[in-house]
C-alpha cells in the first residue's frame, strides 16, 4: 500500500496548490476531493486585495496587507509569506508554459461582463487590462446564442468608467455549434479547442475587425493552458485581444486548474476524485486518517499530516443550519452570532462585508485549527483556502489570493 506523508482534502485552488507545494518539498502526497471547487465557477484571475476594510480601492496590495484585521488570513501569514507564495505561483505558471502577468505591488483593473472594472492582481496574458486602458478603438465581440454575455451591457458600462470613453464598436459572430443546446462560454471555448473551430473563428474575426483595434471578448479562447490560439489571433487580426470576466462556467479557471493538475501528475501526487471525506479519525489531538465514501462503502486513508482545503459553504467544507454552522470533516467549531439577524445585513450588495461570509475556522500561526479561546485542536491538520475565517473575498477581492497564500503555507508546514 502507498505510504502517504500528506493527505490534502479538497481539490479547489487551495488544495491543488498545497499539494504541489508539499510534493515539491519531497513529501509523498495524496489529494482526495469531491468536486472541482470554485475555480471552475469563479475564474483564473488571482485577486489578492482589491479593496481595504473601508471599501477603498487598493493600489498596492503588498503595502495594504499590513492594514488588515489581525484575524485575516493574510495578517496571520504576514506580507513576506504572501509575497513568496505569489512568486512561487508565477514561477510555476512560467515553468508550465502558461505565464501569468502582474505582481503583488500593483492591482490591475480588468473588465467584467457587467461593463465594470474590477481590481485583481495576477492574470493570464489574455486578460491584460493595460491593453484595454491604452486603446482608443475597441471592438466588443459577442457570440450569437451566448446569452450570458451582452456586448451592449459591456460597452454601456465601460463608457461610464473614468478614462474609458473610447471608440467602441460591436460585432456579433457565429459559432458552428448547432446541437440545439443553449451556449455557455465553455461551449464556445471547447469549439475553439478544435482545429476547425479555430480556423473558422480566425477567419470570421479577421473579417470583422480593423487592424489596430483592441478586441474585447468573453473568456472563450480555449480550455487549455496555452497561448497558441491567442497569439495566432493577434497575428491574423493585427489586433490585441483581452478576455473579460463572465458568468460561470469559468473558462479561465478551467485552464488554471488544468495547469495545476498537470503539475500534480508530474510530481507523482495521487489524486482521488469524486470521493467524499465523511470524517477524520482523531486520536489524542492528532489526525491519523480520514474516511471517504458513505455508509455502504467506506475507505480509510492514513498519513502523517493533513491539509484541510475543503472550501466554504459553496465548496462544501462548511455547512450551516438554522442558528449554527460546522466544519464537515472534523466537526470543528465555527463561531456564529447568536441572533440570526446578525448573520447578514439587510442588503446583500453595496453593504460592505457580510458577517456570514467571514464564518470559518480559526487557526494559529501555522494554520492549525484552534477553538475560540485559542487552544490548538488538531496538531497535524493545516487549513487552507475558503474554510478559513476572517475574510470576505466577494467584497475585498481576495479569493484566489487567500487560497494560494494559505495553501503555500500549509504545503510548507505539512
Amino acid at each position: 500500500m502507498r505510504q502517504n506523508d500528506v493527505i490534502v482534502i479538497g481539490g479547489g485552488l487551495a488544495g491543488l496548490f498545497a499539494a504541489i507545494t508539499a510534493a515539491k518539498r519531497g513529501r509523498q502526497v495524496m489529494l482526495v476531493t469531491k468536486g472541482v471547487g470554485a475555480i471552475a465557477i469563479g475564474g483564473g484571475s488571482i485577486d489578492v486585495l482589491g479593496y481595504d476594510a473601508t471599501g477603498k480601492p487598493v493600489r498596492d496590495p503588498s503595502a495594504a496587507l499590513g492594514g488588515l484585521a489581525a484575524d485575516h488570513p493574510f495578517a496571520i501569514l504576514g506580507q513576506q509569506r504572501v509575497e513568496t507564495a505569489v512568486q512561487t505561483f508565477l514561477g510555476l505558471c512560467e515553468a508550465e508554459g502558461y505565464p501569468y502577468q502582474g505582481d503583488l505591488q500593483h492591482n490591475q483593473w480588468i473588465p467584467t461582463a457587467l461593463g465594470r472594472l474590477k481590481p485583481t492582481c495576477l492574470t493570464p496574458l489574455t486578460m491584460n487590462s493595460a491593453i484595454l486602458k491604452a486603446a482608443t478603438d475597441v471592438t466588443v465581440v459577442e457570440f450569437e446564442g451566448l446569452k450570458d454575455y451582452s456586448g451592449r451591457v459591456m460597452v454601456d458600462g465601460l463608457r461610464q468608467c473614468p478614462g474609458y470613453a473610447k471608440n467602441y464598436s460591436l460585432v456579433s459572430l457565429k459559432t458552428d455549434i448547432n446541437d440545439g443546446r443553449d451556449l455557455t462560454a465553455l461551449d464556445v471555448a471547447r469549439w475553439l479547442d478544435s482545429d476547425s473551430g479555430q480556423a473558422a473563428f480566425i477567419e470570421r474575426l479577421t473579417a470583422a475587425v480593423r487592424p489596430g483595434s483592441v478586441i474585447l471578448l468573453p473568456p472563450v479562447l480555449g480550455t487549455k493552458p496555452d497561448y497558441r490560439l491567442f497569439h495566432a489571433l493577434e497575428q491574423a487580426t493585427g489586433c490585441k485581444l483581452v478576455e473579460t470576466v463572465g458568468l460561470p462556467p469559468a473558462v479561465t479557471g478551467y485552464r488554471l486548474r488544468r495547469l495545476l493538475v498537470n503539475c500534480l501528475g508530474k510530481l507523482n501526487v495521487k489524486m482521488i476524485e469524486q470521493a467524499n471525506v465523511v470524517r477524520g479519525i482523531v486520536e489524542n489531538g492528532r489526525c491519523t486518517g480520514i474516511v471517504t465514501g458513505n455508509l455502504d462503502r467506506e475507505r480509510t486513508y492514513r498519513a502523517e499530516s493533513f491539509i484541510l482545503a475543503s472550501g466554504g459553504f459553496f465548496g462544501g467544507g462548511l455547512q450551516a443550519e438554522a442558528g449554527r454552522a460546522r466544519e464537515v470533516v472534523f466537526d470543528l467549531p465555527i463561531t456564529v452570532p447568536a441572533n440570526s439577524a446578525d448573520w447578514s445585513k439587510e442588503k446583500l450588495f453595496f453593504a460592505g462585508s457580510q458577517p456570514f461570509a467571514k464564518f470559518g475556522l480559526q487557526v494559529d500561526g501555522k494554520l492549525r485549527p484552534v477553538d475560540a479561546s485559542g487552544k490548538l485542536l488538531l496538531e497535524n491538520v493545516y487549513v487552507a483556502g475558503k474554510s478559513l475565517a476572517g475574510y470576505d473575498y466577494c467584497v475585498e477581492k481576495s479569493g484566489n489570493g487567500v487560497a494560494l497564500a494559505t495553501a503555500y503555507q500549509a504545503g510548507a508546514e505539512a
Binding site: 471599501g55 493600489r59 486602458k133 451591457v153 468608467c161 439587510e346 456570514f356 467584497v395
Partner: protein, 537 residues
Amino acid sequence: MKKTTAVIIGGGATGVGILRDLSMRGVAAVLLEQRDLAYGASSRFHGLLHSGGRYAVKDAEAARECAEENAVLRKIGRHCVESTTGYFVRLPEDDPAYEAKWVVACQAAGIPVEPVDLARAHRLEPHFSERAAAVYEVPDAAIDGFRLCRQNVLSAKRYGGKMMNYTEVTSIEQQNGQVTAVKTRNTLTGELGSIECDIVVNAAGSWVGQVAGLAGIKINVIPDRGTLIAFNHRFTDRIMNRLRPPANADIFVPHGSVTLLGTTSSPTERPDDFTPTTEEVLALIDEGKELFDELPRYRLLRAYTGTRPLYCADPTAATREISRNFVILDHAKEGLDGLISIVGGKLTTYRLMAEKISDAICGKLSVQAPCRTAEEALVDDIAPELMQQAKKFFPTAGVELAASRLGPDLAETVQRIQANPAKKELVCECELVTLAEVETVAHDDTTFTMSDIRRRTRMGMGTCQGTYCGLRGLGMMVDNDLARGMTTENLLREFLETRWNGIRPILWGQQMREVELTRGIYGAGLNMDGAVPDETE
C-alpha cells in the same frame, strides 16, 4: 389634466376587479397602483382559492361567499387556477368535536365535503403524517394572484379601462364636499400628475387607512403580518389543511413546482412590513411538521410576508377573531361625496367585492348596466392551432406553462421565435422561461423593472433565485433598449435585492451555498458594487 369618471386606487385583486367590473358596465375608469400590480397582499399571500372550509365554523357568511366565488373563478379564471382539490386532515391531538361541527357547518354553507378513506388518502398523498385520524376532501384550489390581477386588467382594457402602475396617489382633491381629482407621483421617475374624476375608489388594501387619510377621513384598520415559506419542491398535490380552528402554519398549498406553508399572524404598524424573520420561519416549520413529519429536512426556497388589512370597530380586538368579511364605506356619510372605500375580504372573494362596490358606484352615477363579471372569462382560451405551433418552439415541459403564464401574449412570443429561432433559448433555466417570452413581456408598456418581468414570466422564481437570469435579463433589456431610463446597476440591484429579502431569513443549508454563489458572481467576479477609482492604472 386627464379626466375620467372613476379613479381606482390600488392594483391588487380588489382594485383590478373593480376596474374590470366598471369598465364592463361602461363606466370610464382608471386604476392607479403605486408599484406594480399585486405589489401588496394579492401576491404576498397563500395562493389558496378557498373552498370556504376554513371559515365554515366561525364565519358562515364568509364560507358561503368563498364556496360560490370558488366555483365562479374556476370558470372565468381558468388560466389562473390549478384545480387541485384540498384535504382537511385531523390529527389525533385535534379536537374530534370540532370535526363534527365542521362537517355540519360545511354542508350548511354549501361546501361539498367528502370523507376520504385514510389508506386511499395516503396512497394519493404519500408524504403527510401517518398519524392522521380523519381526512375530508373539499374543492380547494391553487390560484396565481399576479396572473389574476393581470388578466383582470387585460379584460378591462378591452372595455376601455386603463391601468397605470408605479403611480402613487398623493392627494385626493375636493370641492364643496365632492371629490374632484387625485394628484399622483410616479414612483420610478418622481414625475407628478393629476387626474380629474367624480369618483375615487379606495381599494388600497392594508393602505386603506392611509389613502382615506389623504382626504382627511379616518378608517380603523390594523395591518396584520403573515409570513409564508416556499419549499423547493412539490411534496403534496392537494391543498393540505389542518382540521382544527384556524391557527398558524396549518395550510400547505402546492404551486407549480413549489409548496407554500403559512401563515403567521401578528399586528404591525406598516402596511409594507414585508420582511420575514427567521423566528417566523422556524415557528412555521415547527408547527407544520405535525402534518408533514419530514418537513424540517425539505429544502427551502424563500420566505415572504404580506399584510392583511383587518378592519375593526374596536382597536383592541385580537386580530384572529375579526370577521374576514369585507365592508364598503361610502364616505358621503362623513361629508365627502364621491369617495368610497372597500376594506377586508379575501382574494377568493375579490370579484364579489368588486361587484358590490360597483353596484354602489353605478347607483350613484345612475348607470343601469348589470354586473357581468361572473359570466365572461377573463381571457380567451388559446386557439388549438396556436398551441400546436407553440409546441414546435418551446421546451416540451414548458409549453403548457408558458401558455397559461402568457395567455394572450403567447401569439407574440411564438412570432418572435418564428422570426428568430435563437430566441427560444432559456433566460431562466429553473422556470423554463425563453428569451422570446421575456422580450414580449419587457416590451409591454407597463413593464419597467426586472421584477416586473419576474412577476409576469416567473423568471428568477426558481432554485437559483435570479443568480443566472439576472445578468441575462439585464442583457435582454439593454439589447432591446428597454432600460427606460433606469441604470443597469439599478435594474440589477432591484432584482437581486428583492430576492435576497426572501432568502435572508432562511440563510442556511443550500440557500447559504446559493448566496455564496450569487455574491461570488456579482461581487467577486463582476464587481457590481465595488468602487472604481477616478483614474485606474
